[in-house]
Subunit: 592 residues, 2 copies
């Protein structure tokens, strides 16, 4: 099995040069996030990821989570690793110090999150879901709810889950049927939920389920959904876990991947109804849940980046070791490592460039989130929030699609060995495949980008970003910036077309939503790669010779690769957006 | 689990309208392949595929082939299904009647082969490998070898395998070490072979291994490899299987997919050396093996098409049944099947259009093979063989890549259920992933296209095809033909660039080999879709109203989809070919 080494140098480069970490650290409340502290956090997290979590990745997949007599066991080593994670305070990184958090920027937490997910995607889902639940409680919980739950969830001693899906209610959350009946200060919850990630397990002292359900007189659809805290163990008067609540894990799923992560079918209220506590107002549950979902969507995007990086590191190591065939220009020479073959190089560069663009985009999104939360000026906060809203579906979809592609390239580079499970490359391919599905399928993300993020404000947020990108490129006096012009023009044209078409013909616009998202992401990635190249040029030209000169030169070469091997797809995607929709919708569905 | 219904209407359409089955049937030796007979064969094969093979696909995956005490057992039902396959004479379709074959065209056999692979990819590998071995013996075996082996292999009572790979010799076949020492009329073979598909199993009465090995004084590399027949059971004087040969299955692999198909590690000559019989001349084994490999490469392409079709049928059924969400233009209306959502439609149309283009290209390749084998005129045969040689790497790579993409789209359409193994969509995703790897990785295919098929004849075969495509498009007075012009120009430009660059800078050309292959395939697929649309227009305009009017209208709509949603990627790929290579190769490998 392959090692994982956190790509700290590139992480630092993105933080310092592309998302302006100095500015983030200057935001009120983030003053402690000095460069030294951030470096120390990254180094320390990298060690835990490499030494503790990564070695459990393959064994966790082989063993899988198990379900027996109602008890879920995570794979060997997971509970101990979870304890180490909690003891290290890693769950508390970005949260409110008032509840035991460390108050670090999301930007930093995102880099750290990349490491957990790259090291062990199945394991990292536990903190990922907990983090979403914490965000939700922080934003919408009462003071008493916060006091009761947040310190334990922020520490990680209690984990969190998200309970939306029911068998008949997947993407259509509004179709859910779980019921909640008021009993004094609490509600009694009954119903079945499926696909509950880490819904039951043996790592935490309590599991705090965030459950969507309907009160008896609630309106139909998403406007009649309320949100409840439903803890596995009810809290005693002293706040510690006590009596078992009326909920249970019915089974866990047999999945394609992330086998170390238990995906539970949960039954609420087999007896008297599970006791739940309302969060926010009745019938406003979806709004509250969106807090969690938006957070989780960015995190799932980071998972795509993470699996892309892990697959890359494994494929690179293999390609440097595996000797097979001769160099094209030396047919009688010695056999060479396959990394020297141009087509293998193409695959590795595709992975590397994709990972670097993904990382830049993910951290940029996190930085905007930090600004949206902490900037002193309300207008800045609002603009940053609009940017986060715009970027969230792009980050979720593009990073997860690229993560799958990278995992597939990782298999391909291994050749026949890639198809053998012992090698480990196949696991990344299987694990990655959930990412475009959960937290809103990538198709749902594309519609979200189109309908809520582009059309609703008549393109204001999108045009803001496009203008900023263009101004940025204009200001960079390097040839790489000029090579963006065709792709930028394609994105602008597709955006114009969407803004014109969307209001008149929503179905036609929707038919192009996915290629539009891909186009937007590809161009945004190009912009950030060019910014990276510009920063590298600047640092290389600085008076003090940089100690990481080869790294900076590689940044420039990798940007060139992106511009000439990935970005050229942009005009084609614009053409598909503009010309493709009619024929997508034309066929009578009986003739499919 | 989903049904499989062979897409006989589209198969017939391709055979009749796109590959000119009438002309194929008129070739010497193929006279029996009348339209009625071909229809009957397709119908009958479709029934076996649907009723016998398809129902064993999922159970075969779950159970897997097993290895215990040296014995390999295929999953429940496989041996019985294999017997039915043999008893039905299905293995003998395209082979020489002198040895019990039915002498049908490869074009027909290819359509039938699509069915076996769509129904059950793991099962279909047994006949696929046997077919390759039969081709090899037919072409290179002595009269005695043919008489001894062919009738039994053509019937399928004995199966065949291909033994190239060794742990240190994968893509670099020339690095193999298995030894063959002459003993009178036979050789003694020793060595280990890996990744031997159906290398050991319980379905056939004998297993005829085609084994590459080196004689003691053989030159290094591929010029020192000889090919041997090494049967599992040596033949008695009466020609029936007798004594066990000195070979054994050491283990079978634990794989990502095709779990019903045993992938064996084979040991030859643990005791005195396995008895093997030379095929062709010493040191000419690679040339002989290429007969088998080229055959197998076309077949593997068909596997890509097959898994794409199977995944499509399953996803289409799900999308038509799964009710989730409301129509975009009727937010207060009833919930609708997800097939009505534009993004789901986009995915289904991508699969459908891809499958139809793949089918047309695969059958076209088979028809050229028939011409190459049977055309009375040597010049026609030579031209057809050049066309087959050109198309083989394109068919192998593009169809297998598209097969993987379709299987992935199939998972995506299923949403969360796609990630659950019980649904079956995930199996197609896992099974498909071997296809871009075996029988020469798709990277190897791209280099083959570039170096052997394009550069060696200075572009003659490629220009022939491009000219034919252009003339064909010019002759079709339909708007669809005109919309090919940008993509055709892109392919011509990339071809010119390759022809100019390849001889001067092989590494730079090789860096673009994969996007060049993709470009070639995408444009060729577009050409065939346009030809299909032209045929549909013609049939719709005919005096007798066609009974399959909706099918023909769907052909036209699907061509439009292809032209507007898939073909627009072509110019981007040409740009990548022409501009991408420098940056692919630029980075010092230590900086990857």
């Amino acid at each position: 099995m392959s090692d994982y080494n956190a790509p700290i140098e590139d992480m630092r480069f993105v933080l310092r040069e592309l998302v302006d970490m100095d500015e983030i650290s200057a935001l009120p409340g983030y003053e402690e996030a000095t460069p030294d502290l951030v470096d120390a956090v990254l180094e320390e997290a990298g060690r835990l990821a490499k030494d503790v979590l990564a070695p459990l990745n393959h064994s966790g997949d082989r063993e899988g989570a198990t379900f027996e007599n109602g008890v879920v066991r995570t794979p060997r080593g997971f509970p101990e690793a979870y304890t180490q994670y909690v003891d290290g305070g890693w769950g508390s990184l970005p949260f409110d110090p008032a509840f035991g958090g460390q108050g670090l920027p999301w930007t930093v937490a995102t880099a750290v999150q990349e490491m957990w997910n790259a090291a062990n995607l199945s394991f990292a889902l536990a903190p990922l879901l907990t983090q979403g639940a914490v965000e939700l409680l922080q934003t919408h919980g009462t003071a008493a709810q916060k006091a009761a739950y947040l310190p334990h969830m922020i520490s990680g001693r209690w984990s969190g889950t998200m309970n939306l899906t029911e068998p008949q209610a997947g993407s259509d959350v509004g179709a859910l049927k779980a019921r909640a009946v008021k009993h004094g200060d609490h509600y009694r919850i009954t119903g079945q939920k499926v696909y509950i990630t880490w819904g039951e397990h043996d790592c935490a002292e309590n599991i705090v389920h965030m459950v969507l359900a309907r009160t008896p007189d609630a309106p139909a659809g998403t406007r009649g959904i309320s949100l409840f805290i439903v803890p596995k163990f009810l809290l005693k008067d002293d706040g510690t876990p006590g009596q078992r609540n009326d909920l249970r894990c019915v089974s866990i799923e047999h999945k394609l991947g992330i086998n170390g992560s238990p995906t539970a079918v949960m039954a609420y209220g087999d007896s008297d109804g599970a006791i739940g506590y309302l969060i926010g107002d009745e019938n406003r549950g979806m709004e509250c849940m969106f807090t969690m979902m938006n957070n989780a969507r960015l995190s799932v995007g980071v998972q795509g980046l993470a699996i892309g990086e892990r697959a890359y590191q494994q494929a690179r190591a293999f390609a440097q070791e595996r000797v097979q065939g001769r160099a094209m220009d030396s047919r009688d020479g010695p056999a060479v490592p396959i990394v020297q073959h141009p087509d293998v190089r193409r695959m590795l560069m595709t992975m590397k460039a994709g990972n670097e663009a993904m990382r830049a985009l993910a951290y940029l999104g996190a930085a905007e989130l930090d600004r949206a939360k902490r900037a002193p000026d309300p207008a800045t906060r609002a603009a940053a929030q609009a940017r986060v809203d715009l970027l969230t579906p792009i980050i979720k979809s593009w990073l997860t699609d690229c993560g799958c592609e990278n995992a597939s390239l990782g298999v391909q580079i291994h050749g026949g060995m890639g198809f053998i499970e012992e090698t480990g490359a196949a696991q990344h391919y299987r694990d990655a495949r959930i990412l475009p599905i959960y937290e809103g399928t990538n198709g749902i993300q594309a519609i979200d980008l189109l309908a809520r993020k582009l059309l609703r404000d008549k393109g204001a947020a999108a045009r803001d970003l496009l203008n900023e990108m263009q101004a940025d490129l204009d200001a960079m006096a390097i040839p790489e910036a000029a090579s963006m012009s065709e792709a930028m023009a394609a994105l602008v044209a597709a955006t114009d077309w969407m803004l014109e078409t969307g209001p008149q013909n929503p179905r036609l616009a929707a038919a192009g939503a996915t290629p539009y998202l891909r186009l937007f992401a590809t161009v945004a990635g190009g912009w950030l790669m060019v910014r990276g190249a510009a920063a590298a040029h600047r640092l290389l030209g600085a008076e003090t010779v940089s100690p990481n000169r080869p790294f900076l030169e590689a940044k420039i070469q990798t940007a060139h690769f992106y511009l000439n091997n990935i970005l050229p797809r942009a005009p084609g995607d614009a053409a598909i957006v503009i010309r493709g929709g009619d024929s997508t919708l034309a066929l009578d569905e009986a003739l499919l």
